[in-house]
C-alpha cells in the first residue's frame, strides 16, 4: 500500500510537470491554432539557463528560475515573430507544423553547440528534503511536494488571469474568432505574442522542476516530456486549460504506476495506447468541447 502511495504521489508530481508543459501547448494551440512542437525544447533551453545561472554563476535558485523564465519568454516571443507569424494566414497549417519541427531541431542543435552532448548534472532548485509519513515508511521528497504546489498555483493564476483580466478575456476572444476580436479593438498579434510569452515562461518553470526531479540535462531533455505533454493536452482536450491539467496528471499517474506494476520498458507504450483509446472514444479529448455554432 505504501509502495503504491509512493508511486502514486510521484505520478502526481510527474503529471504536474506534464500539466505545466501541456498548458503551454494548449494555450498556443487555442489561440494561434498551431501545434508548437518546439515547445519541449524551450523547456530544455530554460533548464540550461537555470543550470548556467545556478552552477556556473552561482546565483540563487529562485533568481535563476526568474532569469530562465524571462529568457524563455523572450525566446517564445522571438520564435513566434520570426518563424510562425510570417506563415500565419497565408500558409497551410502543414507549413507551420514543419517550421515548428525545424525550430525544435534548431534549438537542440544550438544547445548541442553551446553545451555539448555531455549530460550536465543539474542540482535541484529545491533544497528541502521533504517529509516522512507512517513512521518513516512513506517518504515524500521536497521537490515532489513543491512541484505539485507549483502546478496548482500556476493553474489558479492562469485561470484567474483568463477569467478576470481584460487581456485574459481578449485571449479567449482571439482563440474563438480573430476577426471579431479585432473588431473589438483587440490587437490580435500582440495577444498571440503574449500567449507564446506565457507558455514559454511556464516551460522554464517546468524545466526547473523536471531537472530537479531528474537531474540529467542534455540537449534532448525536453523532447520526450514535450511529446508527453502534447499527449496530455490532447487527452484532456486540446485548447482546454483544465483539460491540460487533468490530462497531465492522468498521464503522470499512469506512467508512474505502470512503471511500478507493469513494466518500465512498456510504460511509454501504455501511455500512448491510452491516448489512442481515449481519442477513439472521445475524439475531442476528455474536456474538449465541440464548437457550438448557430446559424
Amino acid at each position: 500500500m505504501l509502495n503504491f502511495l509512493t508511486y502514486f504521489v510521484n505520478g502526481i508530481s510527474l503529471g504536474s510537470i506534464y500539466a505545466i508543459i501541456a498548458l503551454g501547448y494548449t494555450m498556443v494551440y487555442g489561440i494561434a491554432k498551431m501545434l508548437n512542437f518546439a515547445h519541449g525544447d524551450v523547456i530544455m533551453i530554460g533548464s540550461y539557463i537555470i543550470y548556467t545561472s545556478m552552477v556556473t554563476w552561482g546565483l540563487d535558485p529562485l533568481l535563476s528560475i526568474v532569469i530562465a523564465a524571462a529568457g524563455c519568454t523572450v525566446l517564445g516571443i522571438v520564435t513566434e515573430k520570426v518563424a510562425y507569424k510570417p506563415l500565419r494566414g497565408a500558409a497551410s497549417s502543414l507549413a507551420v507544423l514543419i517550421t515548428a519541427i525545424g525550430v525544435s531541431y534548431l534549438l537542440q542543435n544550438l544547445a548541442l553547440l553551446i553545451f555539448t552532448a555531455n549530460p550536465k548534472s543539474f542540482s535541484s532548485v529545491v533544497s528541502w528534503d521533504g517529509i516522512s509519513l507512517a513512521g518513516g515508511e512513506l517518504k515524500i521528497q521536497g521537490v515532489t511536494i513543491i512541484t505539485i504546489i507549483t502546478s496548482l498555483i500556476v493553474l489558479l493564476a492562469l485561470q484567474t488571469f483568463i477569467k478576470k483580466t481584460k487581456q485574459g478575456q481578449a485571449m479567449v476572444a482571439v482563440s474563438e474568432d480573430k476577426g471579431a476580436a479585432a473588431l473589438m479593438g483587440i490587437n490580435v498579434n500582440k495577444t498571440i505574442s503574449l500567449t507564446f510569452a506565457i507558455g514559454s515562461g511556464l516551460a522554464a518553470i517546468a524545466g526547473a522542476l523536471l531537472c530537479s526531479a531528474y537531474p540529467n540535462l542534455t540537449p534532448y531533455t525536453g523532447a520526450m516530456p514535450g511529446i508527453k505533454a502534447f499527449v496530455a493536452a490532447v487527452l484532456g482536450g486540446i485548447g482546454s486549460i483544465p483539460g491540460a491539467m487533468i490530462g497531465g496528471l492522468l498521464l503522470g499517474i499512469i506512467e508512474s504506476l505502470s512503471k511500478r506494476y507493469i513494466s518500465t520498458q512498456l510504460s511509454d507504450a501504455i501511455v500512448f495506447s491510452i491516448l489512442i483509446i481515449v481519442l477513439l472514444v472521445r475524439p475531442t479529448g476528455l474536456l474538449g468541447k465541440k464548437v457550438q455554432e448557430k446559424v
Partner: protein
Amino acid sequence: MLEIKDLEVSYGMIKALKGISFRVDEGEVIALIGANGAGKTTALHTITGLLPAESGSIRFDGVELTKVPAHKIVAMGMAHVPEGRRVFANLSVLQNLRMGAYTRSDRDEISRNLEMVFSRFPRLKERQNQLSGTLSGGEQQMLAMGRALMSSPKIILMDEPSMGLSPILVNEIFDIIEKVKADGTTVLLVEQNAKKALSISDRGYVLETGRIVLEGKASELLNNEQIRKAYLGE
C-alpha cells in the same frame, strides 16, 4: 462622415469590388442592398480593416482608413456588427458586452452604456450570465448589436442583422435600428431585406457584382421599377 471612393478589393484573382464609391453623412441611415455575392460584406470588411483594399480610399471623419489596422478602427468611433453575428460563444453575454467596450477605460461611462444596452435589449439583461453560444439566433443578433453599441460608436455598420430571423424578430431588430438612429448614431445597413431596409433608411445604394448600379433617396428607390422587380419581388 464616411466617404468611400473607387474602392477595389480582390480575393486572389477574383475581383469582388470593382471600384465602388458611396458616402454616409452624419445622422443618416444608409442602406446598401444587393443580391448574394454582390460584395456587400466585402465592402464592410474592407472599411473596418478585416480585408485589405487594393486601391481607392476610405475616409472617416477626414482620416484615411485603408492603412489603419482593424483593431484601431473601433476606438475611432466605428463599430461593425458582422455577418453571422460572430459573438464569442465561450464568453457569457455580459463578457461579450464588455468586450465591446474593450478599448474604453472610463468605468462609469461603460456601466452607463451597459444599462442603456440592457434597457434596449431586456432579454440580454435576463441572460447576462448565460454562455453566448447557447443563445438563440435572435438573441445572438441582439448581443452582437449590443456589443457594438458598447463601444459608443459614432457610426455602426450592420451586416444583414435580420438574416435568419422570424418576422416578429425582424421587426424588432428594425425598430432597434431606428432607435439607434434616433440616439444620433449613424448607420450603414447592409441588407437582403431591401424593402425593410429602405423603409427605415434615408438613402440607399444598390450593389451588383462589385459595382454600384443605382443610388438615391430611399423613398425613390422603393418606387423604382428596376428595384421593385429585382429586389422587392414585385
